[in-house]
């Protein structure tokens, strides 16, 4: 019998970090929600405009709140399931502090406008490298702990943890490939359609392997613990695991239905999304049925209450997701607040409530005491549940109302709501209600913090929890089935998991890259001019993509409103692609055709309500006083050439000259309209980009 101790301190730190960043991340979310109703909350500062605040919110809640909670949950259960202390204490602390430094650098760099423009992968290349390194530290600690285990077989939760480590590593590295231009600025390695496919292969699987698989592992450990009964069906959990990781990886293209992505990829993504209902619901039922015969306890135990709602929210979100992947449903839901409602069922319900349940269970355990007040925990539960409903329902209504308004035609055959703002006005009350729902959910956290502080005060923290177990004999498992053998070989298991997720990725990505030379290039489509490159970088920096799509779908309602639908060949020089996923404002792909007046853009960026009364867009007045940094222009051109934009050799030598000429033209045009502005001002570059958008193929007609 060997004596050893479990490391509770690292669990405690990750847990506290999760709570602190949860509060910050949700506060930022609340600010973003208020900005949509009262634009004054943009505070007229570049750092606090919606375009920069929204990625701050998503990154904070995903990687800081949920991420830290994941590490806490994994590290606690991993040690106990394997009957060993974590592999290496130093690695644990490098992991902890490294992750917090990454979060901190994200919290600073995102409001400053350092962003790649790719959703949930906004962080710039130095931070991306840090993430990769710290993730590897986590992986070594995870696999190392598994190797020094005293329990021969790995419980299913650990399989989910392994899949999380392997897949997130692959996704992060592949999607983050870019060409650095300077410290904190890079261009995506991929362009246009390919960038879109890689990004949503990543984006969807960030949901799958950062927000889902680790938490399914956590569910399979903590739910049986809290209910004090084994999981309903272990066999089902095995099927759940393998089918989930096999299928999930294919589903990404459902984020790109009706776009310029090749049709086969769209269909593939949709088909696999539908298939996902099976493993997801298998997992949900497995969780809920674990409580069979114990439902009376759900009435009293707040931990179980949180977990039941979490698993139910998982079931709802994973049914809704596949339905949203049907092209006819997606045609209505895409670009609307429906999607925002959908992800918050997952975020607030599944991740949030599972984390709360887990923490309410962990704190009394680790402090060797009882929960201070189950009553307060119940209050938190009800406020939180109410918050989710008040948050999500208005957004479902808003999404459907707005989408149907976009698509409505008059009897004469013209758009019924030609002015996009009419459709925004109609859903503004729902924006307010959603903010109230968010505030409710947010307030519940403080009840939890108070309750947990009281609980911690009443107990004594058990830094190292002692246990004993016999050493694992070195005998090799040879008898029994292949899967049993597999489970006793963690390295092999990890390799097979990698193979499972690579198959889907390769099958989708490779054909799309093979056709690179055959993408239907459109001769009229030319690379951006140096000034437009600067303008595009400002567009990326300000996070315009968070509210404006650049992808006109082939629907009559869209071609009537925005013009010719978008073609794959139009995006070949877009590093990164900026198709967007939400239309809080109108699509901008043919903005250069619709609004070619420099003066209009000038007025609109200065005070959006001047040309568009009632607009909820923030003002961008700093663009008028900030100047672009021309000295970096040649580097930008060279970097873009490296990633495949065919600028002629030596073009960087004349780039500044070309830039100045175009800037002067726009400054002159503005002067005619009565506006005097220096030609170096950022607004000039942005206007140049906006005037260019979508004009390549329409000019040629």
């Amino acid at each position: 019998m060997e004596k050893f101790s479990y490391d509770n301190k690292i669990v405690k730190y990750f847990m506290l970090a999760s709570m602190i960043f949860g509060i910050i991340g949700m506060l930022v979310g609340l600010l973003a929600a208020l900005q949509l109703y009262w634009p004054v909350f943009n505070l007229d500062l570049s750092y606090t405009t919606f375009g920069r605040i929204r990625p701050l919110h998503t990154n904070a809640v995903i990687f800081a709140f949920v991420g830290n909670a994941m590490f806490a949950g994994v590290y606690y259960s991993l040690q106990r399931l394997l009957k060993t202390r974590l592999f290496n204490d130093t690695l644990s602390w490098i992991h902890f502090w490294g992750w917090q430094i990454i979060i901190l650098s994200a919290a600073i760099s995102l409001p400053m406008g350092y962003t790649t423009g790719k959703e949930y992968a906004e962080l710039e290349w130095p931070i991306d490298i840090a993430i990769a390194l710290i993730w590897v530290v986590f992986g070594i600690n995870l696999i190392g702990t598994i190797i020094k285990r005293r329990e021969r077989h790995m419980y299913v939760a650990i399989w989910f943890y392994i899949a999380t480590f392997v897949t997130v590593a692959v996704l992060h590295i592949v999607n983050s490939f870019g060409m650095p231009v300077s410290f904190m600025k890079s261009y995506s390695w991929y362009g246009g359609v390919q960038d879109a496919l890689v990004q949503w292969w990543y984006g969807h699987n960030a949901v799958a392997f950062f927000l889902t698989t680790p938490f399914l592992g956590i569910m399979y450990y903590y739910l049986p613990k809290a209910a004090n009964r084994p999981v309903y069906s272990y066999k089902l959990s095995i099927i759940h695991f393998w089918s989930l990781i096999f299928i999930y990886i294919w589903a990404g293209p459902h984020h790109l239905l009706y776009t310029s992505l090749p049709d086969w990829a769209q269909s593939l993504g949709a088909a696999f999304s539908i298939m996902l209902i099976a493993p997801s619901w298998g997992g949900m039922l497995n969780g809920l049925l674990t409580l069979r015969g114990a439902w009376d306890r759900v009435r009293e135990d707040p931990v179980l209450k949180f977990m039941v709602v979490a698993v139910t929210a998982y079931g709802m979100a994973t049914l809704e997701g596949p339905l949203l992947s049907l092209k006819n449903v997606n045609a209505i839901a895409h670009y609307t607040d429906w999607i925002v409602g959908h992800v918050h069922i997952g975020g607030l319900g599944w991740n949030g409530f599972l984390i709360f349940g887990m923490i309410y269970w962990l704190v009394p355990k680790m402090w060797g005491t009882k929960l201070y007040s189950p009553k307060l925990a119940n209050t938190h539960f009800w406020i939180g549940t109410l918050g989710i409903i008040v948050y999500a329902l208005p957004l479902y209504v808003a999404g459907m109302v707005q989408s149907l308004m976009w698509k409505e035609f008059t009897a004469e055959g013209t758009l019924a709501y030609l002015n996009f703002l009419d459709t925004v006005d109609a859903i503004k009350p729902m924006y307010l209600t959603r903010a109230i729902g968010g505030a409710l959910y947010f307030s519940g956290i403080f009840i939890m913090v108070y309750n947990l502080m009281k609980t911690m005060g009443a107990g004594v923290f058990i830094t190292n929890e002692n246990d004993e177990a016999p050493a694992l004999d070195k005998k090799v498992v040879s008898g029994g089935s292949w899967h049993r053998v597999l489970e006793s070989k963690p390295a092999l298991f990890t390799a097979l998991t990698l193979v499972a997720i690579l198959i889907g990725g390769i099958m989708e990505l490779v054909p799309t890259f093979l056709i690179k030379s055959n993408v239907p290039t459109i001769e009229a489509v030319k690379p951006y001019t140096p000034l437009e490159v600067h303008g595009r970088d400002i567009y990326i920096r300000e996070g315009c993509v968070n509210c404006h799509s650049q992808m006109i779908r082939p629907f009559r309602s869209e071609t009537s409103r925005y013009g010719e639908y978008s073609k794959a060949g139009e995006f070949v020089y877009d590093h990164p692609f900026l198709w967007g996923s939400k239309r809080t404002g109108p699509d901008l792909h043919r903005e250069g055709v619709i609004n070619s007046s420099a003066s209009w853009h000038y007025e609109h960026m200065w005070e959006p309500t001047l040309p568009s009364p009632g607009s909820i867009m923030p003002k961008y007045q700093w663009l008028f006083s900030n100047n672009i940094d021309v000295s970096i222009t040649p580097t930008k051109i060279a970097a873009l050439r490296t990633v495949g934009v065919p600028y002629e050799e030596g073009f960087e030598d004349v780039a500044i000259e070309v830039l100045n000429k175009q800037a002067q033209q726009i400054a002159d045009e503005l002067k005619q309209g009565g506006y005097e502005v220096e030609k170096e001002a950022e607004i000039i570059a942005l206007i140049a980009y906006l005037k260019r958008l979508g004009t390549d193929i329409t000019q040629n007609k």
Binding site: R80, K83, K225, P230, D467, S481, H483
Partner: protein, 57 residues
């Protein structure tokens, strides 16, 4: 239109077939294993989280 440039990859139709075969083989293997699986093993694994103080093997 997409069909046009897709035709340019040689033997493009093999891709979905390979995918399907890998898929089917793996899941048939998995199901066969689950049907033949040792009950004792399943019970042991199932109770692992809630029997933390009992020793394995």
């Amino acid at each position: 239109m997409f069909k046009y440039y897709f035709d340019q990859i040689e033997n493009v139709e093999i891709w979905p077939i390979i995918s399907l075969l890998i898929f089917l083989t793996f899941f048939i293997g998995l199901i066969v294993w689950l049907i033949r699986i040792d009950k004792k093993y399943i019970n042991k694994m199932k109770n692992l989280p809630i029997e933390e103080n009992k020793y394995s093997d």
